[in-house]
Each structure stands twice: as structure tokens, then as C-alpha cells.
Amino acid sequence: MSETILIVDDDRAIAQLVAIRMSAAGFKALTASDSKTGLEAARLNRPDLILLDIRMPEMDGFEFHRRLKEIPEVAHTPVIFISANSQEAARRKALISGARYYLTKPYEPHELVGAVRAVLPGPRSGTAAVQ
């Protein structure tokens, strides 16, 4: 059985690209192009991991993460941020908020897949270093 990955990014091109990458790696990918839809999708589908953009209109990734943790069924879903913001402040904020990884765009395909595999629970998870 393959794990479900939810991708939340307002840029459809990115969301779809990441979804293709996840599917190619053998995961089941779901996409949402705004935070509200994303939260709803998370509640309904209980994904194993969420790949989350930070800069989104209306509700940014940090706020999404905060609200996610208030939904009991999905509060502990691991989150990996994928952001174009490489500033330390954003990285630190993400890590303090409890994100497991912080990837910056443009990422290398193997980095993305590696991070996802490292965070997912199960035999494939490892203790790879935080990037």
C-alpha cells in the first residue's frame, strides 16, 4: 500500500510537478491550490505527509500548519515546507513550528524524494540530516 502525500501550493504548475514526482516515486499524490481546500483535503484524506508551500494568498503555510495541528485527526501529520524563501528567518520559523524539513526551490528531484522518504514512518524512514 502506498502512502498518500498532500501537496498544497497555490502555483498549479508546481503542485502538479511535485505530484508527478511523488507518483513517479510510488506515492499517491493529492494536490490543493489553496490552504482552505488543503485543510479540507487533509481532514478528508488523512494524508501520511503534507508538502506545503509558504507564500500563499489568504492563508500562508505557517497558518495552515497551525490550523492543521488543531484538527485532532491530522494534528501529527508530518509537514515538509517547500519554499522559494531561503532566508534563515523563514527556515527557523518553519523548524520551530514543527516542520520536519525545509526545502528551497528549486530543489533537486532526489532531495525532494529523499526528504519525503526520511520523514515517512515505517521501514524506509531514516535519520538523515536536516537540510
Binding site: 508546481i14 513517479a24 522559494a84 524563501n85 531561503s86 534563515e88 520551530i96 528549486p106 530543489y107 528531484p109
Partner: protein, 654 residues
């Protein structure tokens, strides 16, 4: 008590003397007397004491009254002198009175004697009081004169009726005149006054005279030698019984020195004020410039962040879709299509690298680039960047050869940054390499650590240009190779990243024979890392404090790794984080100005991370301890000893 009356009698006739004394005893006094009849006796008597009264016979056998009178005057005796005579002409009486005798009494007219003595004694009393007063006046005038002289004041006296003016020598000297040289008229004085001050002095004085009051003036005088001096004066107008001003007396004082001091002081104050105003203006200007610069700088910084942020998303899309297409995910692609897509991927990556360079450069300048140094293998570092290097080399038809020595020691470095340095050096080497040449990446054991190098067969660099190599935005001119475009940041960034990794970068090159760039990484040996870190601090930063903080977090697998990531992002890029063999304890050596407060903040932040997903026991396992803070560089040795002690203790524990 009755007064005593000492009488000197000049009389040869004892009968006459007895008669005389009988008369005198009728007065209101106790009478004492001495009788002499010669000049010698007279002298002895006058020397012996003061006499209240001298009564002398006009003619004696060996002396006479006029001679006696002369002797009294000679002795400056102020006692009344009365002459008595049996018979004498009027002419003798007149001569006696002229010589200073007080009265002339004929023998037989004794009744006149007592009143005459009475009168003369009273007169003498008055004269004496007058003399005393006069003496006092002279003394006080003398005191005044001395006081005036001591304060450089002189006196003057101006007779308004005659226009005559009398000056004390002091006043003359303050006009540059020798004593007695002043012509003695007010006109002569007015000629000495400075032409510009003459009118005002005159009008002020005239007003005071007409109003009959005292006044003060200050004016300049011109000395005969042409020099100008300042005089302050005061005058007092004296009036006659009818109220007419008849005389002005006053003092002058030379105040040139005071005036000069005043002028100099005013000039100094004016200059000071001018300086103050100028400094204030300059400060405001500086402040404005600083604000403008700070504003420009933060604008530039924000712009850089925004630009790179805005570039990343489209780059991700372009590169990502080209990649999935090459892989055939979106359907089959022909060989040529795959090649073309490969170009897109390569160039997009190059562009992404440039954006990264720009951003790193701006972060390096701002000192905000994160450094996460930890044990690493050189083989892993090279392996990680190998695919990127291969793609770059292939695009330029350049071959990459690797010669990494076996048995290289583990290094202590930020592997990502070391990889970036290798990429930047290879980018540079490939850029300058002729077609089909070879670029070699090599690594060898050096100085306890590892040296990694990149050698090419490009045109080489002239000796005089080697120093310019690492300068930001500077490319060496006149290279025979055409394809040398690029933003020139790569080598500069490489140099700074090497410094962050506590290493050195160097270049060896010869024109026509190619170049070799190489850099060092420290071994994973905490004392050696500490030593290189201190070398780095000495040139990289102006610190005043060195502090050490011990963090222990014996946490479940994974969590401690996250903690490390967190610490790496929380500390200053200038700080050093040393790990202990147990993998869970860290020693942070750094320059934080307030290391104790930083320790508290770090503890609070880590507890919050712990509470979030550290699980039970996380808090208990977490220890954040401030080991000490030392003045840098004065107490560097002390700090090193303490840190080394801490390091060795931990090794023993393990």
C-alpha cells in the same frame, strides 16, 4: 589729674627767674622747669626731652633770645616761645616775631604772662592736632598711591578753569610717556587718545562735567611708538561753592591685557561656536547619509531577497518539467528532444546557481549566512556534487577527472558549503578550459586536514592578476578565451565559504599552463578546529568577548539531529558548534555580546522544540549550561584552556 607743664627758662638772672616762676605757678598745671643760660645748656636741654613752653630773656651775658629761638626751630620743637626783656626797642620785637616767637613781654608786666602762656599753649595744641591730621592725610594718600600703583592705576587732576592737567607718573607711563614728559594740558591729553575714541571720550566727559557727577570711561590711546593700549578710567567732578564744576580728579588704569584677553576670548568663542555649528551640520549630514545608506542597504537586501525569491518559482517550474519530460514521465521523447531538454535543465540550473550566488553574496556581506559545520567525508562531499559537475562539463565538452586519495581523514565542515566551493571552482575551470581538455578534482591529506583542488589546462593567470582573483565582481581582463561571461561572483564566494569552513584558499597558476585552485578543510579534531576557528576570528571579526555554552540533549534518534539543525539556525554564523563523540552534546563557542542571555534564550527555544515533539524525558535530558565568558583577545588563552578542558572531559566520559 592736672596736666604737667614742662618749661625751659633761658635766664641768667635768678631773681627774674623766680618772679617768672611765681607767675607761672598761678596756672592750672603742675609746673616743672629747667633754667639754662648758655647755648650748650640749651642744646642739652632740648636733647633731653620735649618742652611744652620756652621762655627766654632777650639778652644774656653769653647767649641771647633770638639764638635760643633759632635753636628751638632747628630742633623742630613746636612749643610756644615767649621772649621777655627789661627794655627793648620795637624793632627788636618785630624781628623776634618774624623769627617765630609767639609773644614779647616786658619785665614788670608780669600780669600779661599767664594769659599769653595760656593762649599760646592752646594754639600749640591746635597746631599739634593739625599736624597729626596732616600726617594722617599724607599716610593715607601714600596708601592710596600704593594701592593705585599696585592695581596699575594712576591719578590725574584736571583744572577746568585753566585746562591744566596733572598726571601721576603711572598715568604717564600708561600713555607711553617718560615721567614728566606729559605737556600738562587737557589738549595734550586729547591728542593721545585714539582718533576713533576721542569724540566719545570727550562727549562723555563733557556730559559728566555739566551734570557734575562721577563717570567711568574706557578708551584707547596711541603711544608715541604707534602701539594701541586700552585705558579704563573714572572721574569725579568737583564744584565750587556756587555749584560750578571747577575740577575733575580721577584714576586711569591700563586694561590692555584684559582687553586683549577679552578680544582673544571672544575670538576663541566665536571660532568655537563656528566649529560647533560646523560639526553639528556635519553630524546631521552624516546622520542623514547613514540613514540613507542604511535605507539603501536594506532596500538592496530586500530587493535581492525578493528577486531571488521571484526567480526561484519559475526556475523550479522550467527545470522540473524539463526533467520529468527527459525522464519520459509525460510520454516518450526522441533522442534529440531529450538532448534539447537537457540543455534547458543545465542552463536553468546554471541560472539557479547564479541566483544562489547573488543571494549568498548578499548574505555573506550581511553576515547572515548559516553555517552548519559537522563531521563529514570528502568522498561524500564530492559525490554529492558530482552529477552537477558532470552535467556542466558535458555541456562544454570538457572531461572531469577525479583523483581523491585513499584514507583521507574525516573533516569538520559545512558539507554543503564545501560542495558549493567545489562547484564554483569547477564552474570557473570549465569556463576557461579549451574544448576537449581535462579538469581534475583532487584531494589529499594536508596539515592534519584535507586539501581539495581543481586543476585546469586553461590560459592561466598572470602573476600580477593573482591578487585580484578573488575580488567581488571582477574578472581578469584580456583572456584569450571568448566564452568568459558570468557574473564573476563565484571565486569571491568560494573564498568566503572556505573561510567559513575555517580553511584557506589559494591559487597556483602560470600563463599558458593552466591554473590550480585549492582549499583546505580542518580535520574532525575539536582542538585543531578550535585553533583554526580562533585564527579565523582574528581576521574575520572584531570581537570583545569569547563565550562557551554547553548543550547536552541525550535524546531519541532523530530528535537530536533536529535539535542540531535548530541550533545551527539559531546561532550566529561566527559561532562555532563542536560536537562530542557521543553525538548528543555540543559546545558552542562564540562571540555573542551577552552570552548569558543568549544561553537563556537558547534554553527556552530548545525547551519549546522539546515540548513539541521531543516526547517524554526530553526536558530532563536537555541541559544548557553557560560555561563562561572571556575578554577577547586578552583572555583568549584562558578561554582556550577552559574549552579544551571541557572537550577532554567529555572524551573521558565516553
Amino acid at each position: 589729674m592736672r596736666r604737667q607743664l614742662h618749661v625751659l627758662l633761658v635766664e641768667d638772672c635768678t631773681d627774674d627767674a623766680a618772679l617768672l616762676l611765681r607767675q607761672l605757678r598761678g596756672g592750672d598745671w603742675d609746673l616743672f622747669h629747667e633754667r639754662i643760660e648758655t647755648a650748650e645748656g640749651m642744646t642739652a636741654a632740648l636733647d633731653a626731652r620735649e618742652w611744652d613752653l620756652v621762655i627766654s630773656d632777650f639778652s644774656l651775658p653769653r647767649f641771647n633770645g633770638l639764638a635760643a629761638l633759632a635753636m628751638v626751630k632747628q630742633h623742630r620743637l613746636d612749643a610756644p616761645f615767649i621772649l621777655v626783656s627789661g627794655a627793648v626797642g620795637e624793632d627788636i620785637a618785630v624781628a623776634a616775631m618774624k623769627a617765630g616767637a609767639c609773644d614779647f613781654i616786658l619785665k614788670g608786666q608780669w600780669a600779661r604772662l599767664l594769659p599769653a602762656v595760656d593762649r599760646e599753649l592752646r594754639d600749640a595744641e591746635v597746631r599739634k592736632a593739625h599736624r597729626r591730621a596732616e600726617a594722617q592725610l599724607v599716610a593715607s594718600e601714600e596708601r592710596l598711591r600704593m594701592a593705585l600703583e599696585a592695581s596699575n592705576q594712576g591719578t590725574w587732576d584736571w583744572n577746568l578753569l585753566t585746562s591744566e592737567m596733572t598726571w601721576s607718573p603711572m598715568v604717564e607711563s600708561m600713555h607711553g610717556l617718560a615721567p614728566g614728559a606729559f605737556a600738562g594740558t587737557v589738549d595734550a591729553f586729547l591728542q593721545l587718545i585714539h582718533p576713533e575714541d576721542c569724540a566719545s571720550y570727550f562727549s562723555e566727559t563733557a556730559r559728566a562735567i555739566s551734570e557734575g557727577r562721577s563717570y567711568n570711561t574706557e578708551f584707547r590711546v596711541v603711544w608715541p611708538d604707534g602701539s594701541v593700549h586700552w585705558i579704563a578710567g573714572s572721574g569725579q567732578v568737583a564744584r565750587d561753592s556756587e555749584g560750578n564744576s571747577v575740577r575733575v580728579v580721577g584714576t586711569f588704569m591700563d586694561v590692555t591685557a584684559r582687553q586683549q584677553a577679552l578680544i582673544e576670548k571672544e575670538a576663541a568663542e566665536a571660532a568655537l561656536e563656528e566649529h560647533r555649528v560646523r560639526i553639528e551640520r556635519a553630524n546631521r549630514e552624516l546622520e542623514r547619509n547613514n540613514l540613507r545608506l542604511a535605507d539603501l542597504y536594506s532596500t538592496a537586501q530586500r530587493f535581492m531577497d525578493n528577486v531571488s525569491h521571484e526567480f526561484r518559482t519559475p526556475l523550479t517550474v522550467i527545470k522540473g518539467y524539463a526533467e520529468v519530460m527527459v525522464e519520459g514521465v509525460a510520454g516518450p521523447v526522441s533522442g534529440q528532444q531529450a538532448e534539447f531538454l537537457g540543455f534547458i535543465v543545465d542552463r536553468t540550473r546554471e541560472l539557479a546557481q547564479m541566483v544562489e550566488d547573488l543571494l549568498d553574496s548578499s548574505k555573506l556581506r550581511a553576515g547572515t549566512l548559516r553555517v552548519d559545520r559537522r563531521p563529514a567525508s570528502v568522498h561524500d562531499i564530492v559525490a554529492k556534487v558530482r552529477p552537477i559537475l558532470m552535467r556542466m562539463a558535458t555541456a562544454k565538452n570538457v572531461r572531469i577527472a577525479e583523483r581523491l586519495d585513499e584514507g583521507l581523514p574525516e573533516v569538520f565542515a559545512d558539507a554543503e558549503k564545501a560542495g558549493r566551493v567545489i562547484i564554483n571552482l569547477v564552474v570557473n575551470a570549465v569556463k576557461f578550459s579549451p574544448e576537449a581538455s581535462e579538469v581534475t578534482i583532487w584531494a589529499r591529506h594536508a596539515g592534519g586536514g584535507v586539501e581539495i583542488g581543481v586543476s585546469d589546462h586553461g590560459p592561466g593567470i598572470a602573476a600580477e592578476d593573482l591578487g585580484l582573483i578573488f575580488q567581488r565582481f571582477k574578472q581578469v581582463g584580456n583572456t584569450p578565451i571568448k566564452n568568459t561571461d558570468g557574473i564573476g561572483l563565484g571565486l569571491n564566494i568560494a573564498e568566503e565559504l572556505v573561510a567559513l569552513n575555517l580553511g584557506d584558499i589559494q591559487v597556483v597558476s602560470e600563463l599558458g599552463k593552466g591554473s590550480t585552485f585549492s582549499f583546505t578543510l580542518p580535520p574532525n579534531d575539536p582542538p585543531e578546529v578550535l585553533r583554526r576557528y580562533l585564527d579565523y576570528l582574528a581576521v574575520a571579526a572584531s570581537l570583545s568577548t569569547l563565550a562557551a555554552i554547553r548543550v547536552s540533549c541525550h535524546l531519541p534518534d532523530g530528535i537530536s539531529s533536529e535539535m542540531r539543525g535548530f541550533i545551527a539556525s539559531a546561532i550566529n554564523p561566527l559561532d562555532l558548534v563542536l560536537g562530542f563523540p557521543d553525538g548528543c552534546s555540543l559546545l558552542i563557542v562564540g562571540a555573542s555580546a551577552d552570552s548569558k542571555r543568549f544561553t537563556e534564550r537558547l534554553r527556552a527555544a530548545m525547551e519549546s522544540v522539546c515540548g513539541r515533539y521531543g516526547g517524554p524525558g526530553c526536558m530532563e535530558a536537555l541541559q544548557v549550561e553557560h560555561l563562561g565568558a572571556w575578554h577577547y583577545p586578552a583572555e583568549e588563552q584562558k578561554a582556550v584552556e577552559r574549552i579544551l578542558q571541557e572537550l577532554s572531559q567529555e572524551v573521558l566520559h565516553v
